[in-house]
Amino acid sequence: MNANQPVIKAENLTKRFGDFIATNAISFEVYKGEIFGFLGANGAGKTTAMRMLCGLSVPSSGTAHIAGFDVYRQTEKIKRNIGYMSQKFSLYEDLTVLENIRFFGGIYGLSDQELRLKSDALIEQLGLQSEAKKLVGELPLGWKQKLAFSVSILHEPTVVFLDEPTGGVDPVTRRQFWALIYEAAGNGITVFVTTHYMDEAEYCHRISIMVDGRIAALGTPKELKAQLNESSMDGVFYQLARGAKNTD
C-alpha cells in the first residue's frame, strides 16, 4: 500500500434495510496516523457505516477500501488489518488480564514469543503489574477500557475502530485514554472513533457529522466551527443534528 493512499476510502457507500436508507451515499477518506472523529446523533447511521467498514455488513451500493482491501470481496483481509473496541464489547470479564491479552493476541495470529514480549511490555506500560493475574471483571471500568484499547492494537493494525470507547468513564481516565489514542496515532495507526462527548471531538484531527444517513459536515474542528459560525463543537453539533428526522 502506498503511503499517500488513504487508509480508509469510502465512495457513495450506502446501506438500505427495505425502504429505509440507514447510510446514504457517504464519501470520505482517512489517512495514515489520522484521528478521525465519526459523530452523529443516535440513529444517524454511524453503527451501520462502521459495520460496513469493518467488513461485517455488505453494502447495498457504493465502494469502500480499508487498508487497500475491498469491503465486498476481501472482508477476511480487512478483519486481519483492523482493531475494534467499544464500550459494550471489550474483554472477557472471567479471564485474567494476562489471559485476555494472550487470547486476543492469539486470535490475531501473534506467535507465542511475540505474545510473551508484548504482554509484558503492555502490562508494564499500563502499570498493571500487580493486576496481571486478576480477573478483568474486578478492574475499574477506566482500566478495563484502557486495557481493551491496548489489546485491540496489540497486532499493530492499520486502523483501529473505537465505538464510544469512553462512555461512562471518569474525566481523568477519559483523558488518559486519549493520551493512548494520541500515542497510537503517533505510531502510525489510523484511529476511527465515535463519541458523544463534544470536548473529545476537539481532540480529533478531522471529524464528520452524520445526520439522517448522510455526512452533513466534514473537516477539522476549527473549519467546522468557522463554517457554521459557532464557538464550540457543541454548537456545531446542535445546529446540524437538531433538524434530523431519524433521531430516536
Partner: protein, 304 residues
C-alpha cells in the same frame, strides 16, 4: 423527601465497598443529581432507595418511609427507571404502559397528563413491540412507565448514558417540566455538563461523596484560579506542560488545555505559562483565566 444517613454497602463478603458511609438529603420538588463515573456506587444507592437492595449499615427514608421496614409503601410511591432497559420487550408500547398502570392500581387515563408531553412523541409507534424500539424511544417509554402511577419521587439511573447531545438536551427539558409538576427527582449521570441542570448535585467516586452543593456553589468553591491555554501545536503544548518541573496540573479540555493555578508559586501564572510555552518554541500562544466547570472541579478532586 429523601434522606440517607451513613449508608454503606459492600459486595463479595466485604471485599468491594460499593457505597461507603454516604449521607445526603433531597428536598421536596428538588431535582437532585448523583454525578460520577461508572462504578462510583450510584446504582447501588438507587437500588437501596427503591428497596431492591438492603444496606449493610445506615438508614434511609423515602417520602417519609423507612427503606427496610416500609418497603411496600415506598414501592407504591416511587417511580424507578433502572440503568438497564427493563420493560417487557414482547409487549407493545401501549401494552407496557397499561401493564405498569394496572400493577399500580391505576389507569393510563387517570395520570395521562403527567406523561402526555413525552408519550405523544412515541404514540405513533404504540403498536410496536418495546424490544424493537430505538434507544431514544425505549428511554421515553421507560420514563412514561415510571411515571404512570404518579410517583412522589422519581429515581432515574443514568437515563442519558450513550445518548447523543441533542437527545440528551431534550430529555433534560422533559425533567424540568416534571419538576414543575412537583415531582421530586433523583437522577444520576456520568456527563458532567448535565450536572449544571440540577438544583443540587453530589459528586461521587469510589462509593464516597466528594462534595454536595448547587452547581453554582461547586464552581464557586473551586480553590484558586483556572487558566485556559492554546497554541498552534496542541499535542506538543500538552506534552511541554505535562513534562514541566516543578509539576503543573494541566489537562486537555476541548480546544484548550486547562491549567490549575494553584501551586504555581508567586509568579503571575499567565506570564509563567507564556514563558514556558514560548521557550519551548511554540507559537500562536493564548493564555487566559477561565471560569471552572463542574468537570474541572471533579478533575481537581480526583487529582489532588
Amino acid at each position: 423527601m429523601v434522606s440517607v444517613n451513613n449508608i454503606t454497602k459492600t459486595y463479595n463478603k466485604g471485599a468491594v465497598k460499593a457505597v461507603n458511609d454516604v449521607s445526603f438529603s433531597v428536598d421536596e420538588g428538588e431535582l437532585f443529581g448523583l454525578i460520577g463515573p461508572d462504578g462510583a456506587g450510584k446504582s447501588s444507592i438507587f437500588r437501596i432507595l427503591t428497596t431492591l437492595l438492603l444496606p449493610d449499615t445506615g438508614t434511609a427514608k423515602v417520602a417519609g418511609y423507612d427503606v427496610i421496614k416500609d418497603y411496600r409503601q415506598i414501592r407504591s410511591s416511587v417511580g424507578y427507571m433502572p440503568g438497564r432497559f427493563s420493560l417487557y420487550p414482547d409487549l407493545s408500547i401501549e401494552e407496557n404502559l397499561r401493564f405498569f398502570a394496572t400493577v399500580f392500581n391505576t389507569t393510563v387515563e387517570q395520570n395521562y397528563h403527567l406523561i402526555e408531553d413525552i408519550y405523544v412523541q412515541i404514540a405513533p409507534f404504540k403498536k410496536r413491540r418495546a424490544g424493537k424500539l430505538s434507544g431514544g424511544m425505549k428511554q421515553k417509554l421507560a420514563l412514561c412507565c415510571a411515571l404512570i402511577h404518579k410517583p412522589t419521587v422519581l429515581f432515574l439511573d443514568e437515563p442519558t448514558t450513550g445518548v447523543d447531545p441533542v437527545s440528551r438536551k431534550e430529555f433534560w427539558e422533559m425533567l424540568k417540566r416534571l419538576k414543575q409538576q412537583g415531582i421530586t427527582i433523583v437522577v444520576s449521570t456520568p456527563y458532567m455538563d448535565e450536572a449544571t441542570l440540577c438544583d443540587r448535585i453530589a459528586l461521587i467516586q469510589h462509593g464516597r461523596i466528594l462534595s454536595i452543593n448547587s452547581p453554582q456553589g461547586i464552581v464557586a468553591a473551586y480553590p484558586g484560579r483556572l487558566y485556559a491555554v492554546k497554541a498552534r501545536d496542541m499535542p506538543r503544548a500538552s506534552r511541554v506542560l505535562s513534562a514541566h518541573t516543578p509539576p503543573i496540573n494541566s489537562y486537555l479540555f476541548g480546544e484548550y488545555i486547562h491549567v490549575d493555578g494553584q501551586g504555581m508559586g508567586d509568579r503571575d501564572p499567565i506570564e509563567l505559562l507564556n514563558g514556558i510555552l514560548t521557550q519551548a518554541g511554540l507559537d500562536s500562544i493564548e493564555v487566559m483565566p477561565v471560569i471552572p466547570t463542574i468537570e474541572d472541579y471533579f478533575i481537581k478532586l480526583l487529582t489532588t
